[in-house]
């Protein structure tokens, strides 16, 4: 059973994508395939989480080759949580794209790309093999490349150049890092690496050196300061359905990998590594939020916020206590949902008002009360105002930090969340509360487009936002399930033995 369960998150999107490719020019068929695939993926992911939660870590040895020799897929709570949230986000973005993305783009492989991207994300989360991790990262990365450039408008191309180049560097670092790990330890299976690293013969210096490669590689992918520059340069350029998905998910996947490796494998010389994380996390938070505060474009504010929030997620790793890592995990899940939701909201605003520039927007509060409410919830979730979801992550991180005596970092994180509030209210003030300025030419065009579109457009665009908000409210107002999962996930992460035993069948 677990053999099937563990590959479903890979196979469902893969077969969905293949089916879409067979019906390359038939948009209607692709949409039907998309619905079926997304729903079944979500169901499979939910069941995977349920199974993982109730029976413990699940593994399958791909190709029936015993653990260090083949590739193992492993699902623990953290990974299955990631898989489930990516599925939820996938559904939301899929539904949004039905009307939120021009048909021209949809015709050029949008749906298969989206599915393959999800496959890549799931692969990263589920794999127990270092090189396989690289491969799945490349899958999701190339999907991101293509999606960001899909349509080839000028800003997209410009963003793509930076995105592609810097992420290529990241992949190279990752690959060199994997080479080093193999060159030092002679294995690629993460569980076996965990054993080897802890053995007496392990060369601490070299392994720590190798870990720097991974730190930089995943640091770039997760957009940690000072490696984040590609993100604000590119995330706001593609159409909103795409940027919502990428912005919501991809950096978190980088962070996931960071957490996975630095709790499982690179646990040596923590007196050197943790201070690095500490400094990077603080700087990431601050620089990110300052960037957000300075922006004047809806999506750019959101983009910079990703950086800032990544700082929070890194914070848990820097503190390295069960509570703090649980905080990071909670924060990752929360952020995936909220960030996607906010990007989708910006998309709805764009579809109805034709701009992303704060200056050119206004009056949404009066015209779209529902959207305003949704935005308030999402924005204040992001800002970490209780009882919304962001609070819990912040709380756990701060609690963990204080318990570990990292007062400075906790203070920074709290200060940063104040500026987060500021920039979220900036959007609220400008886009929702402010009086509506006269529409510009581009705005007029977009609005006209929207008006000629189907009457149900707006409602369909709202639907995914509402779904996400329901999820956000759920994990905020009734935080216990996710908090509990996060705590147990972090226990699993820190208690390496269970992972190793599950993979190597000891």
């Amino acid at each position: 059973m677990q053999h099937i369960l563990l590959v479903l998150p890979l196979l469902i999107p893969l077969y969905g994508a293949i089916a879409c490719l067979f019906f390359w020019r038939k948009l209607g068929v692709q949409r039907v395939i998309g619905v079926v695939t997304q729903l079944s993926l979500c169901a499979a992911s939910a069941y995977l989480l349920y199974k993982t939660d109730t029976t413990g870590i699940l593994t399958t040895q791909i190709g029936n080759w015993q653990a260090p020799f083949g590739i193992t897929l492993v699902s623990d709570i953290f990974s299955s949580l990631m898989v489930l949230s990516s599925a939820i986000v996938g559904i939301a973005v899929f539904v949004f794209s039905l009307r939120g993305l021009s048909n021209a783009r949809q015709l050029f492989g949008y749906y298969p790309l989206l599915l393959l991207l999800q496959m890549g994300v799931n692969g990263v989360c589920l794999t127990g093999d270092l090189f396989n991790l690289f491969v799945w990262f490349e899958v999701l990365l190339i999907c991101c490349f293509v999606l960001i450039a899909l349509g080839g408008s000028k800003p997209q191309l410009e963003g793509s150049i930076k995105y592609v180049t810097i992420n290529f560097l990241a992949s190279s670092f990752l690959l060199t890092g994997i080479g080093m790990v193999y060159g030092i330890l002679g294995s690629l299976n993460m569980a076996e690496l965990a054993v080897l690293v802890r053995s007496a013969e392990a060369n601490h210096g070299l392994i720590t050196l190798a870990s720097i490669f991974f730190l930089v590689a995943f640091g770039i992918k997760a957009a940690i300061f000072p490696l984040f520059f590609w993100l604000p340069a590119s995330y706001h350029t593609p159409p909103i359905g795409i940027s919502a998905f990428i912005a919501g998910l991809i950096t978190k996947v980088g962070l996931y990998a960071l957490v996975r490796l630095f709790t499982l494998v690179f646990v040596l010389n923590q007196d050197i590594l943790l201070p690095i994380f500490l400094v990077l996390s603080g700087l990431t938070m601050v620089i990110g939020v300052l960037g957000a505060a300075s922006q004047v474009d809806f999506r750019k504010i959101l983009s910079f916020h990703i950086v800032s929030q990544i700082g929070y997620m890194l914070m848990g790793l820097a503190i390295f206590t069960p509570m703090a890592i649980a905080g990071s995990i909670y924060f990752v899940i929360h952020n995936i949902l909220v960030k996607t939701c906010l990007f989708l909201i910006s998309g709805v605003v764009y579809r109805t008002y034709g701009s992303f520039a704060l200056k050119k927007l206004g009056g949404v509060y009066l015209q779209q009360p529902l959207l305003s409410l949704l935005f308030v919830i999402a924005a204040f979730s992001l800002a970490g105002i209780p009882p919304f979801s962001g609070f819990w992550g912040k709380f756990m991180l701060a609690k963990g930090g204080l318990e570990a005596g990292n007062y400075g970092l906790v203070a920074t994180s709290l200060g940063v969340s104040l500026i987060t509030i500021f920039s979220m209210t900036k959007i609220w003030n400008e886009v929702f509360w402010k009086k509506k300025p006269a529409p510009t030419e581009e705005a007029a065009r977009v609005i006209a487009e929207a008006n000629t579109a189907h009457i149900g457009v707006l409602r369909l665009l709202h639907l995914p936002v509402v779904v996400l908000i329901v999820c956000i409210l759920f994990i905020g107002l009734y935080a216990e399930p996710l908090v509990n999962l996060a705590l147990r996930a972090s226990e699993q992460l820190l208690n390496t033995e269970s992972y190793v035993n599950a993979v190597l069948h000891k």
Partner: protein, 180 residues
């Protein structure tokens, strides 16, 4: 490039390349080669053709299935009528060319179709294991040995999928680039 010599040379090369690529594909399990290299070699054959004749010509020559179809097809296209269509086109092509109620049709095989076939084959080669309560990608081997083919098994199928996919990918890329 319109040069007679190249054109003729390429006409000779293409079957050579294709045969050789299949050979490389199947011997890959025991010697250097395999699906990826094989697929690339096969694709390179067509790249030569594209360079000599242009992408349109290549697509028409190698990736268009020309068939005949009954004119004024009334009613639903039932299974039997499809079978008739296939049969007539495969074995009675000469007849059809003369028949007035059968009109020539073309179906262009988009390389994306080849890509998806390859991906499907590669992915599906692993699914059989799942039905036998084994992990994904568990290899199943036949208990025999074929001369050129080697020992048949799902990994070979997997390699074949890779071959098709690589072929499709390179073709797609070069077609679209050459059309630019």
């Amino acid at each position: 490039m319109k040069t007679l010599i190249l054109a003729v040379a390429i006409r000779i090369f293409i079957p050579l390349f294709v045969i050789f690529s299949v050979y490389i594909l199947f011997r890959g399990h025991n010697h250097p080669g395999g699906g990826f290299i094989g697929g690339l070699i096969c694709a390179i054959a067509f790249i030569f053709h594209i360079m000599a004749h242009g992408p349109k010509d290549t697509a028409y020559t190698f990736f268009t299935i020309k068939y005949f179809r009954k004119a004024h097809q009334t009613g639903r296209s039932s299974v039997s009528s499809v079978l008739v269509l296939v049969y007539k086109n495969l074995f009675r092509k000469k007849e059809l060319q003369a028949a007035p109620d059968w009109l020539p049709r073309q179906w262009r095989v988009d390389p994306i179709f080849i890509i998806s076939c390859g991906l499907f084959l590669a992915a599906t080669s692993g699914v059989f294991g799942l039905f036998l309560q084994q992990p994904y990608m568990s290899a199943l081997w036949a208990d025999m040995y074929l001369p050129v083919f080697g020992k048949p098994g799902t990994p070979i199928l997997f390699d074949l999928g890779v071959y098709l996919l690589v072929l499709g990918v390179v073709l797609k890329i070069t077609f679209v680039m050459a059309e630019e």
